[in-house]
């Protein structure tokens, strides 16, 4: 069966977009063929700096005939309806239609039409231009007088089916059977007869390593081999590997040497210069674990001189970069961290929330409030919070924003600050995401928490809260950070009070229900990862609790309870009671009436038993909740289960005597209230 080969050749596609575009193109081709009833065998896709390519093996030469049925009016329907049906179905006389029995309508007319299959070649000639025109790129452009949007100018389209060109034209580019290879080593063009021929020509004379995974593997292996041969160790960097695999069609790895004098700069600075500016891999000395004065550059050229000039040129650029970095490093240290603090007045934090200096002042105040909770030294907390953003005005961080905090740590140590303060400056941005580590040293966790809480309370104060997928200030990440810092360090604090109090320093009397719910939403995925249910968190959160550690303890205990047989049964009993009470509430009954014990004593034994069980549970619960002995509280609830079941089996709430009825409702109400001290069972699915 015939094969399809499609290649779209363009000017250089941004590295970060290639893999996704490759997958999208393959899917579009397969879906487009599928919509025409065409399915092939094996498929293959490729992508690189200048091309996207799709191959589909074993496609039919034409699509199958399709039979299309169109139901019409009943036999004997008015002429108007018949005529309308004939027009719509493209018939000239009703005798051309079949008659079929329909169980609802009786005999109806049916028009049957056979749509002949089409040549796959013709289908592709329409499909491919359509895919190209509708293709989605993260950023696309027009070129010349054209209207086509592509990532960069499209240069050639190769489209072969069954060895023949599929004829079409996209904005003046006629499809053809030619491709181009590497610009220097084998540009071509090459006339291609088949998919195998395409691969053979490009990977041979064309000097193009077509397959992304092959390039990744090749670069990785060569980098390892070069390091091994030179007694070095590669600093692995998957992100960089993927990027450089998108920047070279014919990757050639070259070992470059840098001036070892630059190794007195912080490792982070050297590595970032290599990675961000130059896209080099760094190397280590395996005996010391320290950075080595060598780098690996992935070129797109097998140079005539073996890469000597490329290595020298790259080394010179790196030296110039590191020369700049050293200039910043020395200037920054000369002034010191303390001297940077006043300059924070020059950076806006956020309109409505003042400058970074204002934010720092608020963070200092909040950190001091938090210090007794974390057990951190008050003076160290104050100093770390004051210095934590100072490096934002350093020349190094201006150049490398990624090094915020990291440079602050270096500069703090250089100015003789204690290690706890230096670490807090570096770690107060943590955790940066769900997998980042949480600061665990007292000073660091205090400043990290204060910084994030200040940001959240501030943005809530000015009403800029995340909506939908839009969260430009990463407030969700900040809130998750707060949750993780509190839980992983077991910090006991009432978030609502802290937020309210902090809002007052912003001149706001905030209502923080919404912010607390925002924290709860961050808590959910955290608990889900531990295998716990959303509704149980809702049930606890609905009580207005704002101590996250306590909330988690309760949810833990509640999870064990509702998973037990007693728990499941009690939940059913609770729902029954709650439903009765809700129905009564609609009719004007109000909760909170006292239970008349004497009246109960005259009733059935099951009623008395429930009353006793509720009283007993209440006495245990009131203490257990205060003592945070949630397992004891759950045991007390378990004790209710038998009495509740027996009550509903033996007692009818809706007694003829209104006094008895009211008393039984009051009893159920007492039970509901007792359970509510543990959780809002209404929120639990059951």
């Amino acid at each position: 069966m015939p094969d399809l080969l499609l290649e779209l050749l363009s000017e250089e596609i941004p590295a970060r977009m290639q893999a996704r575009a490759e997958a999208d193109l393959l899917r579009a081709v397969i879906d487009g063929l599928g919509a025409e009833g065409l399915a092939g065998g094996a498929t293959l896709s490729q992508s690189g700096p200048r091309r996207l390519c799709v191959m589909v093996e074993g496609l039919p030469a034409r699509s199958d005939d399709k039979v299309e049925e169109r139901k019409g009016p009943k036999v004997g329907a008015p002429d108007q309806a018949i005529q309308g049906f004939l027009r719509g179905a493209g018939l000239t006389d009703i005798s051309q239609a079949d008659i079929r029995f329909d169980s609802k309508k009786g005999d109806v007319y049916v028009a049957t039409r056979t749509l002949p299959g089409r040549e796959t070649q013709a289908i592709l000639a329409e499909l491919v231009p359509d895919i190209v025109r509708k293709f989605h790129w993260p950023k696309s452009m027009r070129t010349g007088h054209g209207t086509l949007r592509w990532v960069r100018p499209l240069q050639r389209v190769l489209c072969l089916f069954d060895g023949a060109v599929v004829p079409f034209n996209i904005e003046g580019i006629a499809s053809g059977d030619q491709t181009e290879g590497h610009r220097v080593h084998g540009r071509g063009p090459y006339r291609v007869r088949s998919a195998d021929d395409y691969v053979a020509q490009l990977s041979g004379p064309g000097h193009v390593m077509l397959n992304r995974a092959d390039r990744l593997g090749f670069i990785q292996d060569r980098a390892q081999a070069i390091c091994a041969a030179s007694g070095l160790e590669l600093v692995e960097d998957q992100g960089l590997l993927e990027e450089v695999a998108g920047l070279a069609e014919w990757p050639q790895l070259i070992l470059g040497n840098m001036d070892p004098a630059f190794l007195d700069l912080p490792d982070e600075v050297v590595r970032l210069s290599m990675r961000v500016h130059q896209k080099y891999f760094a190397t280590r000395d395996p005996s010391t674990g320290q950075l080595a004065p060598h780098f690996i550059v992935v070129a797109n050229l097998a140079a005539k001189d073996g890469g000597a000039q490329i290595a020298a040129g790259n080394a010179r650029v790196l030296s110039a970069r590191l020369e700049d970095a050293r200039f910043f490093w020395e200037n920054d240290r000369r002034g010191g961290l303390e001297a940077m603090v006043p300059k924070l007045t020059r950076i806006d934090f956020k309109q409505g929330l003042g400058t970074v200096a204002d934010k720092v002042a608020r963070t200092v105040a909040l950190a001091q409030v938090l210090a007794p909770v974390t057990g951190a030294d008050l003076q160290q907390v104050e100093r770390a919070a004051r210095l934590c953003k100072a490096d934002l005005v350093s020349e190094m961080v201006y150049e490398f924003p990624e090094l915020q905090g990291v440079m602050g740590r270096y500069y703090a140590l250089a100015s003789g600050e204690p290690a706890a303060i230096a670490e807090a400056i570096a770690d107060h941005y943590r955790p940066q995401g769900p997998s980042d580590t949480v600061p665990s040293a007292p000073v660091a966790m205090t400043v990290a928490l204060a910084d994030k809480l200040d940001t959240l309370v501030g943005f809530w104060a000015i009403g800029e809260t995340p909506t939908g997928s839009k969260d430009p200030f990463a407030l969700r990440r900040a809130a998750l950070g707060v949750v993780r810092i509190i839980l992983e360090n077991g910090l006991r604090l009432g978030l609502r009070d802290i937020c309210d109090q902090h809002a007052r320093t912003l001149g706001q009397s905030g209502d923080h229900d919404d912010l607390l719910a925002f924290f709860a939403d961050r808590l959910k995925p955290h608990l889900r990862d531990k295998g716990q249910r959303h509704d149980l968190l809702d049930a606890v959160f609905a009580l207005g609790e704002d101590d996250l550690v306590l909330i988690v303890k309760r949810v833990d205990a509640l999870t064990t309870f509702v998973d037990s047989e007693d728990g499941a049964n009690l939940l059913a009993g609770f729902k029954r009671a709650a439903n009765i009470l809700k129905a009564e509430e609609k009719r004007g009954w109000t909760a909170g009436a006292d239970v008349d014990a004497a009246l109960i004593a005259q009733g059935p034994a099951a009623e008395q038993a429930l009353y006793d069980a509720v009283c007993h549970a209440e006495s245990i619960l009131s203490l257990a909740v205060v003592d945070e002995a949630f397992e004891t509280a759950m045991a007390a609830l378990s004790g209710l289960r038998g009495a509740v079941d027996a009550f509903f089996d033996a007692v009818i709430v809706n007694d003829e005597d209104p006094a008895v009825r009211a008393n039984r409702l009051a009893l159920l109400d007492r039970m509901r209230a007792a359970m509510h001290t543990v959780a809002d069972f209404d929120q639990i699915a059951g």
Binding site: P49, R142, T143, P153, Y280, V297, Q309, A312, G313, E323
Partner: protein
């Protein structure tokens, strides 16, 4: 297509410029002279930013001195200058083979494609001051950025049709690479065997020193603030009178005056934003009037 062989190295900085001019002249570009006003980048020359608007075809190339007061370093930094040259090429519409034309221009100044690793690395260009952006790359030669290559998509906040291709060569940096020189002031400005051999430093070092002193120590900020207002008033009046070319000149003047004020580091972030917005309004306003005149002229 066969790969052209690189020519020998140019003899000097000026020889490199002359070769680029000759090369682009051969591609049908009008070789213009620098615009006679202080600008921060070659793109801001009306031959690029205004000609990119409207339906008329256009090809031009020119050297443009660029002034960036805050980058001045008293002649003490071997890589950084407050005044430097850009070589600017604009082709409208962009020809299909622009990438090849560009690569050939590198071979023309002695960069051998068999020895040097040329790469096109994603870098989308944007200049909010003139409401312009485009997609393209920074072009790397052995890891060093030697050009900015852009397909304009919008100028003055308006979609451009046809699209122009724009190339900007950082001449000093490119020359330092070609000549293997570590310090910009050591570049041979004319050929070393000339009757009066001159280095880049002979021509510009004293200028960098004195201009740096002006930029950072002697500029009169109150006077500059007044100038800024005057330029703004004049530009606005010219725009209202539908004279976009001089209106644009005064927008450029305002922009440079702002850069001088900014170099003194005396304005707050909020003030700074407001200056930038005012310059942008002037430049965009002039560009919009120009675009509508171009469209009317042809239509």
């Amino acid at each position: 297509m066969t790969m052209p062989v690189a020519r020998d190295k140019p003899a000097s900085f000026q020889d490199l410029i002359l070769r680029l001019q000759a090369y682009w002249a051969a591609q049908g570009c009008a070789i213009l002279q620098p615009y006679d006003m202080e600008v921060g980048a070659g793109t801001l020359h009306p031959a690029t930013v205004l000609r990119a608007l409207g339906p008329r075809d256009w090809r031009a190339a020119y050297v443009q001195p660029s002034r960036r007061p805050a980058d001045a370093r008293y002649g003490e930094n071997p890589n950084r200058l407050g005044h430097y040259y850009q070589f600017q090429v604009i082709l409208k519409p962009n020809p299909q083979d622009l990438q090849d034309l560009y690569l050939n221009s590198l071979y023309e100044i002695g960069i051998d494609p068999g020895l040097h690793d040329i790469r096109f690395v994603e870098d989308d260009w944007e200049n909010p001051t003139v409401g312009a952006w485009g997609l393209g790359w920074e072009v790397w030669c052995d890891g060093m950025e030697v050009s900015q290559y852009t397909y304009f998509q919008q100028v003055g906040g308006l979609d451009v049709l046809p699209v122009s291709g724009e190339l900007t060569y950082g001449l000093e940096r490119l020359a330092m690479y070609v000549f293997g020189v570590e310090n910009v002031y050591d570049l041979p400005f004319n050929a070393p065997d000339s009757a009066v051999p001159l280095t880049y430093g002979d021509v510009f070092l004293e200028n960098e020193r004195q201009q740096s002193a002006f930029n950072f120590e002697y500029s009169d900020v109150d006077m500059l603030q007044r100038w800024f207002q005057d330029c703004e008033t004049q530009s606005t009046a010219l725009r209202m009178a539908e004279k976009p070319l001089p209106a644009y000149d005064f927008a450029l003047k305002a922009s440079h005056v702002f850069n001088l004020i900014d170099a003194r580091g005396v304005i707050s972030p909020t003030e700074r934003q407001s200056f930038i917005a005012r310059v942008r309004d002037l430049a965009r306003g002039a560009a919009e009037v120009w675009a509508s005149q171009q469209a009317a002229d042809v239509g």
